[in-house]
């Protein structure tokens, strides 16, 4: 078997069997299970009991308010409370009531209310009551002014306002909203994966170096094969993890009844709107982004003498990804700003920012092609540079490691003639 594949399978299988891999996969699956079933779970915990609100009132607004709440299909049980405030408080203590409200009319005959509960941290009930009362008030006021129900409805009718993009191929309002959600989710996936798996590569290399097993390894496999075997081994691991997660996510959704998937957290993700091209772009940018950062991180990992130093050294590289992510977050609302456009051509930012532009705008293919070419070009450059630094770096053991060591490592691997 080719040594490259020996390194690849060893890296892959070793990580696959590791506790860290199993734990992160299980945790992610649990999270997905929770997300897809969140509504069912909340319902399970919800006792379905109606909130009991006692109303101390003599006002004629009370029946109107009750009607209004019925129309709003609230789960509030509003009942007239005959008694004093003290008695109402006692009723709360005894558990008969959850809260009470004093409904009065002011001098002008307008309704006014005071809502009292043990705590006012819970916002649902008072908000509902307030808006219902507001409705009642405006209806009554309108009637007094001689406005009919029909006229009132007309006044309340929201204005029709539609946004239409003139550019050919531009995304419609609906599509954009959908795209925004997808792009947001996929951006996060790309960002997270590059950091997570890229770090894994750096740690893997640093561990081999600090345990000094490296010298045996590079005496039997060329550093280039070893480095790329590792990078692709971890990539394979990532693909495995995502496959597990996607398939299980799909199964979780299938397990739910129709009603569940309607109200579930993921229901706003209408998968029929997800275009094939967007998914392909996501995969392409994910793979290329990973390759770029993994190569840089493997190079950085080879400079470390002790495994503890690895975090310190990969931080500057991580900042690049974090910056890219922030540009993309900013770009979600202003995808066509020049700043975002320029950033999308910088290879370090391309995987995230260009993907955002592809997802949000209808940009011509040649723009994507240029950014891809730049990205692939820099992967090759960093691949060659990385392999050289790696070759020298793995033989260097210094007191403290810093990125300046890249130069030293290059010197060590250089063929001096």
């Amino acid at each position: 078997m080719n040594k490259f594949f020996i390194v690849l399978t060893q890296t892959y299988l070793n990580r696959l069997k590791s506790k860290a891999f199993i734990v992160t996969t299980v945790i992610t699956l649990l999270m997905i299970f929770l997300l897809t079933n969140i509504s069912t779970i909340i319902e399970r915990f919800d006792t379905n009991e109606e909130d009991q609100v006692g109303v101390i009132t003599t006002s004629e607004y009370f029946p109107l308010l009750q009607n209004q709440l019925d129309r709003m299909e609230s789960n509030l049980d509003l009942k007239s409370f005959k008694g004093t405030e003290e008695e109402a408080q006692q009723a709360i203590e005894e558990g008969e009531l959850d809260s009470y409200m004093i409904l009065e009319e002011d001098e002008a005959g307008e309704p006014k209310a005071i809502y009292k509960a043990e705590t006012v941290a819970e916002q649902n009930t008072p908000q509902l009551l307030e808006s219902a009362l507001q409705q009642v008030k405006s209806t009554v006021a309108a009637e007094r002014a001689g406005v009919t129900q029909k006229q009132l409805l007309e006044i309340d009718q929201p204005v029709q306002f539609e946004k239409v993009a003139l550019e050919k191929g531009a995304k419609t309002e609906d599509e954009l909203n959908q795209a925004r959600v997808f792009v947001y989710v996929l951006l996060f996936v790309i960002y997270f994966s590059v950091i997570f798996y890229g770090n894994m590569v750096a740690v893997e290399v640093a561990t081999e170096k600090s345990s000094r097993v490296m010298e045996i390894l590079i005496s039997s496999v060329s550093p280039v094969k070893q480095m790329f075997g590792k990078i692709l081994g971890i990539a394979l691991l990532g693909i495995t993890q995502y496959t597990i997660i996607i398939i299980s996510g799909y199964l979780f959704m299938q397990l739910q009844d129709d009603e569940g998937s309607q109200t579930g957290f993921l229901s706003f993700l209408n998968f029929s709107n997800l275009t094939v091209s967007l998914v392909v772009y996501a995969i392409v940018f994910f793979v290329l982004g990973y390759l770029l950062y993994a190569t840089i991180l493997a190079m950085v990992g080879s400079l470390v003498s002790r495994a503890e130093e690895v975090q310190q050294l990969i931080m500057p590289v991580q900042f690049l990804i974090i910056i890219a992510f922030f540009i993309a977050m900013f770009g979600l609302s202003t995808p066509s700003s020049p700043f975002v456009t320029i950033a999308s051509y910088i290879p370090f930012f391309t995987p995230v920012v260009m993907f955002l532009r592809v997802g949000m705008l209808a940009i011509p293919f040649w723009e994507v092609a240029i950014s891809l070419a730049l990205l692939i070009g820099s992967i090759i450059v960093f691949g060659i540079l990385g392999a050289k630094v790696y070759r020298g770096g793995v033989l260097m053991y210094g007191k403290s490691s810093s990125l300046k060591d890249i130069g030293k490592a290059l010197k060590l691997s250089r063929r001096e003639r």
Partner: protein, 298 residues
């Protein structure tokens, strides 16, 4: 034949190995000696192509060494290290595969080597659970498991207790019997004297002594005389051909220019009094090393 021709390695302005010429016959144990920083590890690393030489060629059986020939070569680096969290067996299977072996072959070899080193129970242990000496045994197995033609041992006996040194030494001698060419470095002269037929002493990247051990000793000429008498030996210093006198607790060692001087010394001693012990011996490699390397320091 392992050949180094005009091999030079410079790191910037620093010359680690300077114009090294060596021919190492097959099926021999060759010792590479030198103080710290003499260039031994750099020589090995160039031989293994971990770093490129600035000048010169290195060849094994008339072929340049490359990663395609890595299955022919075994290497025990000075910087010891294995995967701490991996089990001995898995570890050796991985390293063996990288040297071109099949899994089943490695498994068989691992069992027989562990039995030879009297530690068969380590097969399923993690390396970090083993003592340092035992880790070194595992590392030695990793270097020889693929039956290399050429075995490079960088300080193989450092950090081992005397019992384990013997076990490893026997293993090295057995490998030689099987036809392996072994190149090893050491600070310990007694190990070199015991194992090597040919050797080379490096100092600051330059070979200062090189050749057959016996010839080196013979051509060195100087001999030692062990003397045990009850009187003071200082008067011997005035004799021609006497280099230095090292006084010890039980006996003194007098270094002389050549064999014939010993008879003059003996004569003087018997004149002076009772001689309990008088013994003529070959110079030790230690003496040669100290003189050659020491002289270069001056």
């Amino acid at each position: 034949m392992l050949q180094f021709q005009n091999v030079t390695k410079r790191f910037g302005s620093f010359t680690a190995v300077d114009d090294l010429n060596l021919s190492i016959p097959e099926n021999e144990i060759f010792g590479l000696l030198g103080g710290n920083g003499a260039g031994k590890t750099t020589t090995f690393r160039m031989l293994l192509r971990l770093i490129d030489q600035t000048n010169g060629t290195i060849s094994w059986k008339d072929n340049a060494i490359s990663y395609d020939s890595s299955h022919l070569i075994g290497y025990l680096p000075e910087e010891r290290g294995l995967y701490p969290k991996m089990k001995v067996k898995e570890q050796l299977i991985y390293l063996g595969k990288l040297r071109g072996m099949k899994r089943s072959e490695v498994e068989k070899e691992v069992i027989s080597w562990l039995e030879r080193f009297n530690v068969p129970e380590y097969i399923d242990k993690k390396v970090e659970e083993l003592s340092k000496g035992n880790q070194q045994k595992i590392q030695f197995i990793a270097a020889v498991i693929h039956k290399p033609e050429l075995l490079i041992l960088d300080e193989p006996f450092s950090g081992l207790d005397p019992v384990n040194v013997e076990v490893l030494k026997d293993a090295v001698l057995d490998l030689k019997k099987l036809g392996t060419t072994i190149l090893f470095s050491s600070h310990r002269m007694e190990h070199v004297e015991e194992l090597c037929e040919h050797l080379c002493i490096l100092h600051k990247g330059k070979p200062v002594v090189s050749g057959n051990l016996k010839e080196i000793k013979r051509s060195y000429g100087k001999k030692n005389v062990l003397i045990d008498v009850d009187f003071d030996l200082t008067f011997l210093e005035e004799l021609e051909g006497v280099h230095r006198i090292k006084k010890g607790l039980n006996h003194s060692v007098v270094q002389i220019e050549e064999e014939s001087v010993s008879q003059v010394v003996l004569h003087k001693l018997t004149e002076k009094g009772f001689v309990r012990r008088f013994e003529l011996e070959e110079p030790s490699l230690n003496d040669i090393f100290i003189e050659k390397v020491g002289a270069a320091y001056e």
